[in-house]
């Protein structure tokens, strides 16, 4: 019953075409991931909005305070007015009597009033509802102050910088982590993955997805860093140019490696489920891991020991190392060590994720447990 057709030789000639190489397949998959994302209007618009917000933040941080730096109008009786003249940010309105001053304060036409008082200073400051502390401070005798560490970062600023690194890490990791998870489950749900697996190895698909999304995340982080640094240069912010340059460089490096690790984990988690609806359950442990550095840096931004520990934990290193670089509380080799730990851990995680991904990709039905994915 065997039939030999002349075209049979043509078919066997095709056989020599062979399988697409691992990296070629990875490249094709990565290319699609990037192209799909770049064509998505939602992605472009949200990225543009984020960059605009960051730029606004940078500009505001340098010119903002000046906008709100209004002069304080102070009503004073003529006897004390000379004492107030020439003070920074104070405009003096000389009135005839103490009562007139009180009325002006009460009416709100001035911010505060000063009349003669019976105390040691000979002055009585009048406020409407709260003590005009700026004025009081200026009129007080200030003791001499000696700062032992005049260059130490401002704690408030440290706090906000910590939050900024945390938010950028958190939002980028979650956005792209979810993207990769959706892309995995889309292929699983639509079963196109069966066609793909017949042609290329599962690991090439995983590698393509991780690389594609990492390139996008890296691109976005570079854009953010560029906007922050350029914005700083344009507005002449010393803080951004001197203090944050190196921390941002470290952030970009560590984020990129850390993202590869997270992307692999998100892909593996998504492979455990068969439907997009179950994605939330599968990725929630990862969300915690991503949120951890964000929350920890808010709590511990002023605790050098906690930051040191965080800088060696792979999940929080991308936030903790830049913070320590900014605070200058680490030896020069410490960021390198953190990076080394992160790279080693990432390699291990990729191996683990590839195993889970490979073994779960064709299993459908209810969510597979991590443990079972490794066993099978």
């Amino acid at each position: 019953m065997s039939v030999t057709t002349p075209a049979g030789t043509a078919a066997s000639a095709h056989n020599r075409r062979g399988r697409t190489g691992f990296w070629a397949a990875t490249g094709i998959v990565a290319q699609r991931e990037i192209m799909i994302r770049l064509r998505s209007k939602a992605f472009i618009i949200s990225t543009a909005i984020m960059l605009a917000l960051i730029l606004a933040g940078v500009i505001f941080s340098s010119v903002g305070p000046a906008l709100f730096d209004e002069d304080t109008t102070v009503a004073a009786v003529s006897a004390v007015a000379p004492a107030l003249q020439g003070m920074d940010g104070i405009v003096v309105d000389t009135l005839g009597s103490a009562d007139a001053v009180r009325q002006a304060v009460q009416a709100g036409t001035v911010d505060a009033g000063v009349v003669q008082g019976r105390g040691a200073s000979g002055l009585l400051v009048i406020g409407d509802r709260e003590t005009p502390s700026a004025l009081v401070q200026m009129l007080s005798v200030t003791p001499e102050v000696e700062l032992l560490d005049p260059n130490a970062p401002n704690p408030m600023l440290t706090y906000f910088i910590g939050i900024a690194f945390g938010i950028v890490f958190f939002s980028s990791a979650i956005t792209f982590g979810q993207t990769i998870a959706q892309s995995v489950v889309e292929e699983k749900q639509s079963r196109i993955v069966e066609i793909m697996l017949a042609a290329v190895p599962a690991r090439a698909i995983l590698a393509g997805k991780v690389i594609g999304n990492s390139v996008l995340a890296f691109g976005q982080i570079i854009l953010i860093a560029a906007v922050v640094l350029l914005g700083g240069a344009v507005t002449g912010s010393q803080l951004l140019l001197d203090g944050l340059g190196m921390p941002i460089v470290w952030f970009v490096i560590l984020f990129t490696v850390g993202f590869v690790m997270l992307a692999a984990l998100f892909a593996a988690a998504a492979a455990l489920v068969s439907r997009a609806e179950d994605l939330g359950t599968a990725t929630s442990p990862l969300m915690m891991l991503v949120m951890l550095p964000y929350i920890a840096v808010i709590i511990f931004n002023n605790n050098p020991v906690a930051l040191q520990i965080m800088s060696y934990v792979p999940f929080s290193a991308p936030v903790a190392v830049p913070m320590r670089t900014y605070l200058q509380t680490q030896a020069w080799w410490e960021p390198m060590l953190s990076l080394g730990i992160l790279i080693v851990f990432t390699v291990l995680v990729i191996g683990f994720a590839a195993k889970v991904y490979e073994r779960s990709l064709l299993k459908t039905g209810s969510m597979i447990k991590w443990k079972d994915a490794l066993k099978a």
């Binding site: 030999t4 002349p6 062979g18 399988r19 889309e186 069966e194 017949a198």
Partner: protein
């Protein structure tokens, strides 16, 4: 030639495939028939390497199949699916490239296939915007776009209207005519009987019959003839003949040899007018019902 050799596969204690072996010959359309749950999909997944067998192997031209071989196969899984939000032409090119085609070659081939399947105008529409029947055609195009050296299609005709069945069939014929083995499953026996050169009947994870239509018929029926004449009563007296059905001038009989049947015909001509004398062909459907029992 694609051969499936002694394959076993169990799922959680249930044996889905029991030592199955069959062949899909080059240039032939082989129908893979069986009731739901007979093991067709499992067997196809094993051929494509998407699933591993517990034992046994798949062979190509007599040697064990390799990943390189499989990468050149065209496959249409049971559960349909391409990227819902990707344009039809674009995803065909993507899949062809994964299978090793060049971008330009894949583009031309995708255009030609879409045209042939009547989807030419929808090439830049997203898959989800197509009707189910058209999605099905796109799925067929996806299995063919990289010029496969063999085709394995799980229920390619389900959900297609008769027109679409014809156009799809033409496309599949082209592939078979180019010398590739084509295996497709179906539970519509009439379709398979009409379309296939060869058949594999699966039931409860076992191959119950395999071969060309004629071979299966020959294996599952004794040769039978039907004679229509004035009075067929004489047939009982002829040696090597067993009468199966008798009604005055109509008789259906089994003969141990063609010569014995010829003796019946000769005798009938001498006795009167022969209105009809022909081998009785059992419909495949009947054989199918019998073998899957």
């Amino acid at each position: 030639m694609l051969s499936i050799h002694a394959i076993n596969r169990s799922f959680k204690g249930h044996q889905a495939l029991k030592d199955i072996s069959f062949e899909v010959h080059d240039g032939l359309m082989t129908g893979f028939v069986g009731a739901n749950g007979a093991g067709k999909t499992t067997a196809m997944r094993i051929i494509l390497g998407v699933l591993a067998p517990d034992s046994g192997e798949v062979r190509v031209d007599g040697r064990p199949i390799t990943a390189d071989d499989r990468a050149q196969f065209g496959y249409m899984p049971e559960e349909r699916g391409l990227y819902p939000k990707m344009k039809v032409h674009e995803q065909l090119v993507y899949l062809a490239r994964l299978h090793g085609s060049s971008t330009a070659g894949a583009g031309r081939r995708a255009d030609a296939l879409l045209e042939q399947l009547g989807l030419g105008e929808r090439r830049n529409d997203t898959l989800e915007s197509l009707s189910l029947g058209n999605q099905q055609r796109a799925q067929i195009a996806a299995a063919l776009v990289h010029e496969p050296t063999a085709l394995v299609l799980d229920e390619p005709f389900s959900g297609l209207d008769p027109m679409a069945v014809e156009t799809t069939l033409e496309v599949l014929r082209d592939v078979a005519n180019a010398g590739a083995p084509v295996l497709f499953s179906s539970h519509q026996l009439d379709v398979v009987e009409r379309l296939c050169d060869s058949l594999v009947i699966l039931a409860h994870g076992e191959v119950r019959a395999a071969g060309t239509r004629d071979e299966i018929r020959a294996a599952h029926t004794r040769p039978e003839w039907v004679l229509e004449t004035d009075d067929a009563g004489f047939v009982r007296g002829i040696g090597g003949i067993e009468v199966l059905e008798f009604d005055g001038g109509h008789v259906r009989f089994a003969a141990e040899s063609a010569e014995a049947a010829d003796r019946v015909l000769r005798e009938a001509i001498e006795r009167g007018t022969v209105r009809s004398f022909a081998p009785s062909i059992r419909p495949l459907n009947q054989i199918f019902q019998e073998v899957v029992r």
